[in-house]
Each structure stands twice: as structure tokens, then as C-alpha cells.
């Protein structure tokens, strides 16, 4: 089995893994990083959305070899210690979460969007494909706008 080194939330890990193992299971089952959630395993629900070298990825369809040598940021790595990221703060202000299961992915998608465009339009927000089965979309939209205004 090949050996891979990857940095997850600032911590370096070296592991022997099959090259095609999806990053989601490396994070959850090998490293115990449980923030990214399984929702579909085929990249359509976006519950596991995380960042690789600052870019939005779906770990359930990202083989570990693609992440090798890179820096992975999951929801756990977004805050600066106890200081939350402005998007997380906005999520609290809007009281977005219901069951909360999709929210790590929603937040990581919103952070990526705000990185691409400082003041996203409604049309930009519409393009976020993350499923929220509790249907909290309107509060997600409001939280993204709030975060954009404060960042």
C-alpha cells in the first residue's frame, strides 16, 4: 500500500492507504475527524464539503492520492481557536441549524463562495448545491449575506 502525507487542519499525518480510498473515510475512519458527514457518497449532497489547499472539495469523491501532500481544512479547522470564522458567527446569529448534520458542509461551501466573490448575489447563492433536508435554506441565504457584510 502506498504511503501518503497530508495535512489536516494544520496537523501532518502519514498513512499507508489504498490510493483510491475516498478522503472522507480517511478523515472519519482513520483520523477521527468527524466534522465532514456522509450523506450520499457520490458527491451530490455535499454534506462532506471541505477544502483542499483552499479550494472546495467533496471528500466522498476525492481519492486520497489527490489530497496527498496537500492541506485539508474541515469544519473543525475553520475557527481560530475559540474565535469563530465570520461565517460561523453569522450562522449563530441567524440560528440556521436545525438538525445540524449538513451544516459543516453548508458552512464550508459558504466560506468557499465568499472567497470567490466578496458580495455574492442571490443567483450566486442559488448555485450552492448542498442539501439541507430540514429545509433551512432561507436562513442559510441570510447568514451568507450577513457574513458577506461583516467580512
Amino acid at each position: 500500500m502506498p504511503t501518503y502525507t497530508l495535512t489536516v487542519n494544520g496537523e501532518q499525518h502519514t498513512l499507508d492507504l489504498p490510493a483510491d480510498m475516498p478522503l472522507l473515510w480517511v478523515l472519519r475512519d482513520k483520523l477521527g475527524v468527524k466534522g465532514p458527514k456522509y450523506g450520499c457518497g457520490i458527491g451530490v449532497c455535499h454534506a462532506c464539503t471541505s477544502h483542499l489547499n483552499g479550494e472546495e472539495i467533496r471528500p466522498c469523491i476525492t481519492p486520497v492520492h489527490e489530497a496527498a501532500g496537500g492541506e485539508v481544512t474541515t469544519i473543525e479547522g475553520l475557527a481560530d481557536g475559540d474565535r469563530l470564522h465570520p461565517v460561523q458567527e453569522a450562522w449563530l446569529e441567524e440560528d440556521v441549524a436545525q438538525c445540524g448534520y449538513c451544516q459543516p458542509g453548508q458552512i464550508m461551501a459558504a466560506v468557499a463562495l465568499l472567497k470567490r466573490t466578496k458580495h455574492p448575489t442571490d443567483a450566486d447563492i442559488d448555485r450552492i448545491e448542498n442539501v439541507c433536508r430540514c429545509g433551512s435554506y432561507f436562513r442559510i441565504r441570510e447568514a451568507i449575506k450577513r457574513a458577506a457584510a461583516t467580512m
Binding site: 449532497c45 450562522w91 438538525c99 429545509g135
Partner: protein
């Protein structure tokens, strides 16, 4: 009221920390007495009261739980914090926040000093540990407040004893008892004394609601920070030592069973630890879930047939149409408005798939899962794996959504069966495909409705519902059996009839009303889906109400207004009509639609605007919702529930459903089951919670039916097409996954 206080009278107790733990054990039957009193049905005006006016399903659940409703455990600890153990499930509906608010209010503690924990399955609670029927707040509002009030009274009594002052002269504020001279004693310093039996007989009643400062105020969720930082733990996030990832290979048709299994290739796959055959499939245990799925794909299994093999939507629809009972009033003789409606199966599809952790040993077992009926889960699991109930511990874990799904404990049962076979702890995850194809669903229904008109009003109204059987075998059957003598529904009504008649009612003065349910007992995996029968039954009704209004030459809002019977009902309708500027001019292809719903002593109206300029891709652009729940505990959480109900309605009315083909749903993931995404949800949503005016009503399911009506009516008005089959746009626009 008697209560037990846990002290440390035994020598063993000397070493441990001591604090006030209340278990208030006296059942209070005032709830039952009041509910069955003569004035409950009196609110209806000229309209003939329906069964659900007199006694709704929530009342039945409260009655069934009454003997144990005060068996709540509340601790006030020596650090001054309080912990309430709640025998209900949190699945996103925000009850831990709302219950925490009730405790904080009664104890005069900050909300941050209150922890609400989900109780393990407690068989002694009998029928008082079921989360459903929009019933949590209704059923625990009084017991939680009474328990907390008693704890507060004991803390006050302890301070009174220390200070030699009469308890009446002491007050409580911000986690301390306060004396008239300004002395204070923090709860933490009083907790041990308050737990001693030497206190005078302490009695307490909850604060009058007029003194509530926190309850009724919009409050953010207590678990929000854990959720936005990824720290909130769901079942598969728990660290249970030795529990290995496990998935099941499932049959090609619903309820198929494994006939022969060749696991030789699977067992050679990297990371695969073990394989086990259970009645519902073949389990693969591995180092990671990815490897477990690869192992599953390497299994060679032949299957015995399932219970609906060869059956497809057309067959089911034909059976439903044949099952709908005939109308009493013939057509053609008088002026009638008729409508027939079909609703497809709908997956619950909570984001967290069905999952459970199980550690079954020879002499004991421990289970972790999101469970809304954990007592029945525990009993069934104990029986299945051959252990006495008291050797099985069932932990209720906060769930990632439910919408009715977690009433059933199928993953917990499977995990226990697998753990027993492989003799190690396992964490079982249903894949998304498993969840959509073998998970539970809202049953398909067929509706025919006939209203006869005369003198400018509705004279008779008949609704015949035919539905694939909804499975209530999660403990609700036991509750209904136990309560049978008190139910206002006559004869040998089945469970489903009872649920139907205690939940569904026409809120309008429509003359002689009959609503009848007939079920087709197909053996499929069904379950109550948020609002049970009401989403479809009341949704269809709200569509026909618009058509009746049109036949009478009346405006949909004005007609509803004159047909509703209470001021509360009219107030929510007026609110959305005013705020939503009902009747405003809209461009071609756009329209407004309105819907109303009343259940569980709450009522709501919903007004939406739709853009159907492309009738194939309509989008709800705006929604205005008003709800009167009698007494909102946390209006902010309630708004979330109504927002969720709206999104459910948009999804299932326009695009989300399951196709059944040859004994199995075709849909296998969110790319196929089209639950709404951000692009399908309105950019403008305004939700109004009416001020408190009585007792708390149910609210968790309230939002769906009115919104179904509003969306469908807006679509009809925008396109001129009367929607009859739901979801409205329902092509098989994908390549189904292999079976």
C-alpha cells in the same frame, strides 16, 4: 405532589459528590381530566365538530403518558448547573432548547447553566417515551415546569433553613437564593442541603405564565455552536471502542431475504474483517466504511423474493383507486365540485442516514442510535437477540433529521443482530441508496373529494382517502389499544383509522362533512412522514377549496375567511393576506396562492408567490407564514419548524417523490429524489408567530399542509393547470442505480 429526592444515605455514597436529584413520581391526572372535560369541543362555531376537535392524537399521547409523565429526572449540581433528562428524541426540532428554556425559567437560571440530555430507553416510562404527533412540548410543558418548580422550592427551603428565615420571604435570581437583606446563596452551595430529607414538606407550583421572562422569547439553539464547529456528535461520530464500520448488502426488491451467500471474494478484500448474514441482508464489517462498501460489492448473493415483487406505480395506483370508498351524495343532481388527486411515495431522506452502533455480548448489550420510540426498540432488540430487557441498554443519540423516519429502529435492530453474529461491536451505516430504496417512505395516496354547493355555500363535503398502509408498529399501536376505551372514535377502528380521525379535520364550515380512509395493506416500508395523513389529505383539500371558491365566484382568501369558524383561524389568514399583499397584480406566469391548516390546537396560514413562467421549472419566490400555536415557547425555533414545513411542501408538491418499479424505488440519492435545494427555495420568507393566548399546541408538523395547498394553488393560478398528481413534475430523469 410526592417526590423522591436522591440523597447519599448509604455508606457507599460518602465518596461521591452529592447534589439535588429530583425524580418527581406522582402522576398528575389533571391533564387527562381536563382533556376529557365538556368544554374541549366547544370552540367550534356552527361547524359540526370533528373527532380531532374533541380529542386529537396529541391528546391521546398525553393521556397514555400521563401515569409516568412526571417521572422526569432533574439534577441541580454542586456547580450550580442543572441537568434535565428528557425522555424524548432531539432530531433537529429544537426541543432541547425549548425544554432548557422551561427549566431555566422555573429555576431562575441562565439558559447556559441548563443542560438537557436525552434519556436512555426507560421501560418504566411505558408509553411516555415516544417522540411524535407534534407532541413533545404539549406533553412535557406541565411536568417539566412542575419538576423544576419543585427543585427550586427545595433550594429555597434549604436556604431558609440555613438562614433561619421563612421560605416565603426568599426569592431566587440568576442561580441564587436571595434573602430580603441582600444575602445570597448560590444553588451550587445549597444543592447538597436541598437533597437531604430533613427539609419541611415542600410544595410548589410553576410560575404563572405572566411572569415568564425567557419562555416566549426568541432564543437561539443551545447546540448551535457545536453544530457550526463540527463538534455535534451524531451516532456514527461517537467513539465506541472497537466498533467497526459496517454496511449491508440489501435485496433487489423490498423485503427480499438472502438465500445463498458466497463471501469468499469479499473476505479477501483489503480491510474486510467479517461477513454476517441477517434476515434483511448480508453485513460486511471492515476497517473503514469505504472498504466495507467495496467488500459488499464483492459479495455474491442470491435472494428470495420480497413482498411486492413485480409491483410498480401503475399497479399501486390502480389498487388505490379501487380502494377509495364511494361518495354518499351522487354527482349530477346538484351543483358539485369534484376533484381526484394522487400523491407519490416520498422518502423521509434525513441527511443522517439510518445508522446505529451496537455492542452485543453474551450477557448484555448496548445500543446507540437516534430513536423516537426507544422503549419499543429496546424490547424488540432484547427479544431478538435473546437477552432480558434489563441487560439491554439503549442510548438515544441526537439525530440528523427524522421527519418520522426515526420512529422506526430498523438500523438499531440490524446492528444488534450483526454484532451478536460477529461477536464484536459494530457501527452500521445505511448507505443513501439503502435509505431511499429500503428505508421508509410516506405511502402513496389517492383522494377523491366532492363538495355540493347551494345557496352560495358548501352544503356537503366528502373526502375519500385511499392510502398504502402506514406502518404504526413503533409503539403507537400499544398506546391506541390502551386508550381505546377513551377514544371518541367508535367501534373496531384500526390504528390507522384512529390516527386519521384524531389528526385530520376540515377546518371550514362545510355543512355535512365526512372524511374516510381506506388503506391498501401492501407490505412496504412506510412510516408517518411529517404531518402523517394531513400533508396529502389537507393539501388536496386546500386545492379543492380554491376550486369551490371559484365555483361560488368568491376570492380564495375571502371564501376561506367566511368559512373558518374561530377568530384565531381568521387572524392568521388575515395576517398573511395583509403582509403578503394578497391580490396584488402580478405579471403573466406569476401568481399568489394561499393555504390554511389547523391541527393539534394550532393553526397556520401560508401565502406564497410562484414564478411559473417556465411551467416545467416553477419556483416559489416568496412565502409569508403566520402561525398561532397557543403558547410559543421559543418563537425562533418555531419559525425554523415552519420554514422546514414550507421547504417540505415545495419539494413534495413540485418535484420530490419516489417511483416504484418492480418492487423497489428507482430513486437512490438526492440527485434522483429531488428534495429542494437552495435554487428551489424562496429568496423572501417572512414568518409571524402570533402572541400567546392559551396552552401550547403542536407545531412540528403544522407547517406542511397549508404550504402544500399554497404552492399548488399558486401553480394553478399561474399556469391555469389544475394540479392533480404530485409531485407535479415527476419524470424519471436519471439512470437508476443497479439493484
Amino acid at each position: 405532589m410526592d417526590h423522591l429526592v436522591d440523597g447519599d444515605t448509604s455508606p457507599r455514597g460518602l465518596g461521591r459528590r452529592r447534589f439535588l436529584t429530583m425524580l418527581v413520581a406522582a402522576p398528575t391526572l389533571t391533564v387527562a381530566t381536563r382533556l376529557l372535560g365538556p368544554d374541549t369541543a366547544a370552540h367550534a362555531g356552527v361547524r359540526v365538530p370533528a373527532v380531532a376537535d374533541a380529542l386529537d392524537l396529541g391528546d391521546v399521547l398525553i393521556l397514555a403518558g400521563a401515569p409516568t409523565s412526571h417521572m422526569l429526572v432533574l439534577e441541580v449540581r454542586d456547580d450550580g448547573t442543572a441537568r434535565m433528562q428528557l425522555p424524548r428524541a432531539e432530531v433537529g426540532q429544537g426541543i432541547t432548547t425549548a425544554i432548557g428554556m422551561l427549566v431555566a425559567e422555573e429555576l431562575d437560571l441562565p439558559l447556559s447553566a441548563v443542560e438537557v440530555r436525552l434519556d436512555d430507553a426507560r421501560t418504566e416510562l411505558l408509553m411516555n417515551q415516544l417522540t411524535g404527533g407534534s407532541n413533545t412540548i404539549r406533553s412535557v410543558y406541565e411536568p417539566v415546569r412542575s419538576t423544576a418548580a419543585l427543585a427550586r422550592a427545595r433550594l429555597v427551603a434549604a436556604a431558609a433553613q440555613q438562614w433561619g428565615l421563612p421560605a416565603e420571604r426568599l426569592s431566587t435570581r440568576n442561580g441564587s437564593v436571595v434573602a430580603p437583606d441582600g444575602r445570597t446563596a448560590a444553588y451550587g452551595t445549597l444543592s447538597a442541603a436541598a437533597s437531604r430529607s430533613g427539609l419541611p414538606d415542600v410544595r410548589a407550583t410553576p410560575k404563572p405564565e405572566s411572569e415568564h421572562r425567557l419562555v416566549g422569547r426568541p432564543t437561539s439553539r443551545v447546540d448551535a455552536r457545536a453544530m457550526v464547529t463540527g463538534k455535534q456528535q451524531y451516532t456514527l461520530d461517537l467513539h465506541i471502542p472497537g466498533a467497526m464500520p459496517t454496511v449491508l448488502k440489501r435485496p433487489p426488491t423490498i423485503n427480499g431475504t438472502p438465500r445463498s451467500v458466497d463471501a469468499s471474494a469479499a473476505l479477501k478484500m483489503p480491510g474486510v474483517i467479517d461477513v454476517a448474514v441477517i434476515p434483511t441482508g448480508v453485513a460486511v464489517v471492515a476497517e473503514t466504511f469505504g472498504q466495507a462498501m467495496d467488500g459488499r460489492d464483492a459479495l455474491r448473493v442470491t435472494w428470495s423474493e420480497g413482498t411486492v415483487d413485480g409491483m410498480s406505480d401503475e399497479d399501486i395506483r390502480r389498487q388505490l383507486r379501487a380502494a377509495a370508498q364511494p361518495f354518499a351524495v351522487p354527482g349530477g343532481l346538484t351543483k358539485t365540485v369534484d376533484g381526484e388527486f394522487d400523491f407519490a411515495f416520498a422518502s423521509h431522506a434525513p441527511m443522517e442516514t439510518n445508522s446505529a452502533v451496537a455492542d452485543v455480548r453474551d450477557d448484555r448489550a448496548e445500543i446507540w442510535a437516534g430513536l423516537k420510540s426507544p422503549v419499543v426498540a429496546k424490547q424488540t432488540i432484547a427479544e431478538t437477540i435473546g437477552l432480558p430487557q434489563d441487560k439491554v441498554t439503549v442510548h438515544v443519540v441526537q439525530g440528523g433529521g427524522s421527519f418520522g423516519r426515526r420512529l422506526f429502529f430498523d438500523a438499531a435492530l440490524e446492528a444488534a443482530q450483526i454484532s451478536k453474529k460477529v461477536r464484536r461491536p459494530v457501527k452500521l451505516m445505511w448507505t443513501r441508496v439503502d435509505d431511499m430504496r429500503h428505508g421508509r417512505a410516506r405511502p402513496a395516496t389517492h383522494h377523491k373529494i366532492r363538495a355540493t354547493l347551494g345557496l352560495g355555500r358548501v352544503l356537503t363535503y366528502e373526502h375519500r382517502v385511499a392510502a398504502v398502509e402506514t406502518d404504526f408498529r413503533h409503539g403507537l399501536g400499544e398506546i391506541l389499544t390502551a386508550m381505546a376505551s377513551q377514544l371518541p372514535v367508535g367501534g373496531n377502528m384500526s390504528f390507522s383509522q384512529t390516527v386519521f380521525h384524531t389528526t385530520v379535520k376540515v377546518p371550514y364550515d362545510f355543512g355535512v362533512v365526512t372524511e374516510l380512509l381506506n388503506e391498501v395493506p401492501l407490505r412496504m416500508h412506510t412510516a408517518s412522514w411529517r404531518s402523517v395523513y394531513s400533508a396529502n389529505t389537507r393539501g388536496a383539500e386546500e386545492i379543492l377549496v380554491d376550486e369551490i371558491a371559484a365555483a361560488l365566484g368568491k376570492d380564495p382568501v375571502a371564501f376561506r375567511r367566511e368559512s373558518l369558524t374561530t377568530a384565531r383561524q381568521r387572524a392568521v389568514l388575515d395576517k398573511v393576506a395583509a403582509v403578503g399583499r394578497w391580490g396584488r397584480t402580478m405579471p403573466k406566469g406569476f401568481a399568489q396562492g394561499v393555504g390554511f391548516h389547523d391541527e393539534y390546537k394550532s393553526c397556520t396560514a401560508c401565502l406564497v408567490e410562484i414564478d411559473a413562467t417556465d411551467p416545467q421549472h416553477p419556483r416559489v419566490t416568496k412565502a409569508v407564514i403566520a402561525a398561532d400555536v397557543g403558547r410559543p415557547i421559543n418563537p425562533r425555533g418555531l419559525e425554523s419548524q415552519l420554514l422546514g414545513g414550507l421547504t417540505d411542501a415545495i419539494s413534495t408538491t413540485l418535484r420530490a417523490g419516489l417511483h416504484i418499479r418492480d418492487g423497489l424505488p428507482l430513486e437512490g440519492s438526492y440527485s434522483q429524489f429531488h428534495y429542494a435545494r437552495q435554487k428551489d427555495s424562496p429568496r423572501d420568507v417572512q414568518i409571524f408567530v402570533m402572541p400567546a393566548n392559551g396552552e401550547p399546541g403542536g407545531a412540528g408538523e403544522l407547517g406542511v399542509p397549508a404550504a402544500v395547498g399554497a404552492v399548488a394553488n399558486a401553480y394553478a393560478r399561474a399556469t391555469g393547470i389544475r394540479p392533480r398528481s404530485f409531485p407535479i413534475h415527476f419524470p424519471v430523469d436519471f439512470d437508476p442505480f443497479p439493484r
